[in-house]
């Protein structure tokens, strides 16, 4: 084999085992201290001891990085030199004079705002169809789930061919309509007007299967006796759909919208490999990668990351606030 696999794997493996032992030791230590030094109850000591690995991970891989990102965004850090504090200059440059900034925000936000509702609605409808007692349901489940297991790199390259203006599958299928209306075939990733629709179509193909599986789970969880009770009350199937199925599925819909929106805002691999025309703007996460890792402007890139974070945070807060209006939780009065 090429290189020195054992020499590459073994040190990591050793550090992995050592770290695992250390974490285990800390957990046991927490239990010992809480029980024997503070004389706390058994449940409290065991509970804290069991969640110790998470607390450690939260501090090291969440809290410290987030705080650092905010701090770094006010510096000119470039990996080589010690960072200098430069105030809000990164933000001023980004918002005021960076020609990539606004197109990037526009593309990322529009993509998320349009693709997520379409994807969630379609997966809801699909799950309703699939939840009927169809024969061979397993086959369809596998079929729809297939696209979400294809490596993202392969997905993009596949779609680059499908979107090819001259020999791509999509324009081939569209050609009768295009000829009829006498419109030139769109150059999907090459024409700034079509970049956004192209990304949305691609995302639907990738995400629909995954989302449908989650929706299907939620659909199955709706208790059958609710429908029986409604039937006795003389409700027809449309009323049952509107008054039982949909409300009972709103927690899953909500969960999906929040998670999907956050991940849509952070689109990376498809954005990196679509080679879409830069005229349409670059996705924010790709721009962060470009500034930070290709141009080594870490401080500047973290300022962009903070803005992305604030956008997602704002959207998440709005969604959570809206919950009271449309999300129904069992055992809770409306």
């Amino acid at each position: 084999m090429v290189g020195d696999p054992i020499g590459d794997y073994l040190p990591t493996l050793i550090r992995f085992v050592v770290l695992a032992v250390v974490v285990l030791g800390v957990s046991v230590g927490v239990h010992y201290v809480l029980r024997n030094v503070f004389h706390l109850k058994r449940d409290i000591a065991i509970g804290f001891s069991l969640i110790t690995p998470w607390i450690l991970g939260f501090l090291i891989f969440n809290l410290i990085p987030i705080v650092s990102t905010f701090v770094l965004s006010f510096t000119d850090y470039n990996l080589q030199q010690t960072p200098n504090f430069i105030g809000t200059q990164n933000y001023e440059t980004l918002i005021g004079s960076d020609i990539n900034f606004w197109p990037s925000i526009r593309l990322t936000v529009l993509y998320s705002v349009i693709s997520v509702p379409i994807s969630v609605t379609l997966s809801l409808l699909l799950s309703l169809v699939l939840s009927r007692n169809l024969k061979g349901i397993g086959v369809y489940r596998v079929l729809y789930y297939l696209p979400s297991i294809v490596p993202a790199v392969a997905v993009v390259l596949l779609w680059r061919w499908i979107f090819n203006p001259d020999v791509g599958l999509l324009n081939l299928i569209l050609s009768p309509i295009l000829n009829l209306t006498n419109t030139p075939s769109p150059d999907w990733f090459g024409d700034e007007k079509f970049v956004l629709p192209a990304f949305i179509i691609m995302s639907l193909w990738t995400a629909l299967g995954n989302n449908t599986v989650i929706m299907l789970g939620a659909r199955k969880g709706v208790a059958g006796d609710l429908y029986e009770a409604a039937s006795i009350d003389g409700a027809n199937s449309w009323t049952k759909f509107l008054r039982i199925t949909i409300p009972m599925m709103t927690p899953a819909i909500f969960f999906l919208v929040v998670v999907e929106f956050a991940s849509a805002m952070q689109l990376f691999t498809p954005a990196a490999f679509a080679r879409a025309t830069p005229a349409a703007g670059r996705f924010m996460n790709l721009l962060i990668y470009t500034y930070g890792f290709q141009q080594s402007r870490m401080g500047y890139a973290t300022a962009l990351a903070v803005i992305l974070f604030l956008l997602i945070l704002a959207a998440t807060i709005v969604l959570f606030r809206s919950q009271a209006r449309w999300v129904y939780y069992e055992g809770q009065e409306r």
């Binding site: 290189g3 990591t12 449940d43 891989f61 410290i64 990085p65 009927r132 079929l143 596949l158 199955k220």
Partner: protein, 298 residues
């Protein structure tokens, strides 16, 4: 279902084709047509993936479209595999997939057990904090995390892709498994305790086997995530020999002096799908069950 039975016994013969039943049959037919049509739409790109992997380089762009190559080039597979050190890439990928997977599933189960079964002060707030980290964009942590690993001198090592799994587990996994734990009656644990088992024994011998569907579904999600990860290996690994399959594949998209090898890329992509596909087909029942109990009671 029961409605159909009563209908047909009440009015035998042709009369059973009443409007309600006709409507039901038509509804079912439409459902079949819909799911099948959509299934075809979903399959076409995948079919193309496989058929392209068997073509001669430029045939992919032939007009009119060649749905299946005249002479399937099966040797594309060994050719692609040998064009770059893919055997090494496969072992690298397995290393950065299986090691963190085992750790993160086990650690998540332990943390989930702590959150679901033991009452301690601040439990709900800590759980809420844990859930909210699920919604934190990775982008905001990416650069400082890179700097942390860099300061330990671990860039171009596998550590950044592997070690984090020991600490913390994965919020989504903890969430799903906690939901699953909460469906298990407390009496089962109490019985184990009376039999003299300690917490570790109860967890390993009684609780873990009971949440097997959840363990399976998070394992599939986790496997898929590490197996297909691209950004992580791209940022942290520099030597070609250390690359994973996804990063290696990317070289087939062509460079400054080299034409892209689409057929090789498609061949490698097809190969990469197979392990996950097998896992999903075998475990799809558990997979849905494992996800369901989390999403519904969420």
């Amino acid at each position: 279902m029961s409605a159909t039975v009563t209908q047909s016994t009440a009015s035998p013969g042709n009369a059973s084709w009443n409007p309600a039943r006709i409507r039901r049959v038509i509804g079912k037919a439409i459902a079949y047509i819909l799911v099948s049509a959509l299934g075809v739409v979903f399959l076409i790109p995948l079919f193309w993936l496989v058929s392209s992997s068997l073509k001669i380089g430029n045939e992919i762009f032939d007009q009119p479209v060649q749905w299946w190559p005249a002479v399937p080039q099966w040797n594309n597979y060994p050719d692609a595999w040998n064009a770059l050190p893919f055997t090494r890439f496969l072992f690298n990928t397995l290393f950065v997939t299986l090691l963190p997977l085992v750790a993160e599933v086990l650690v998540s189960a332990i943390v989930a057990y702590g959150f679901s079964r033991f009452v301690f002060p601040g439990r709900n707030i800590l759980f809420l904090v844990m859930i909210s980290t699920m919604f934190l964009p990775d982008a905001v942590k990416l650069i400082p995390t890179f700097i942390i690993w860099n300061s330990f001198g671990l860039i171009n090592h596998y550590d950044p892709l592997v070690l984090a799994s020991v600490l913390g587990g994965t919020p989504l996994f903890i969430f799903l498994m906690r939901q699953f734990f909460s469906t298990i009656p407390k009496e089962i644990e109490e019985a184990a305790l009376i039999d003299g088992a300690n917490v570790v024994q109860t967890f390993m011998r009684v609780m873990l086997p009971l949440i097997r569907p959840a363990l399976l579904s998070v394992s599939i999600i986790g496997f898929q995530g590490h197996w297909n990860d691209f950004l992580g290996p791209l940022i942290y690994l520099n030597d070609q020999a250390k690359y994973t399959l996804t990063v290696g594949m990317y070289f087939f998209t062509g460079g400054v002096n080299e034409r892209p090898h689409w057929e090789w890329l498609m061949a490698m992509s097809t190969l990469m799908i197979i392990p996950i596909l097998i896992l999903f087909i075998i475990f799809q029942r558990y997979f849905i069950e494992g996800l369901t109990s989390g999403a519904v009671k969420g």
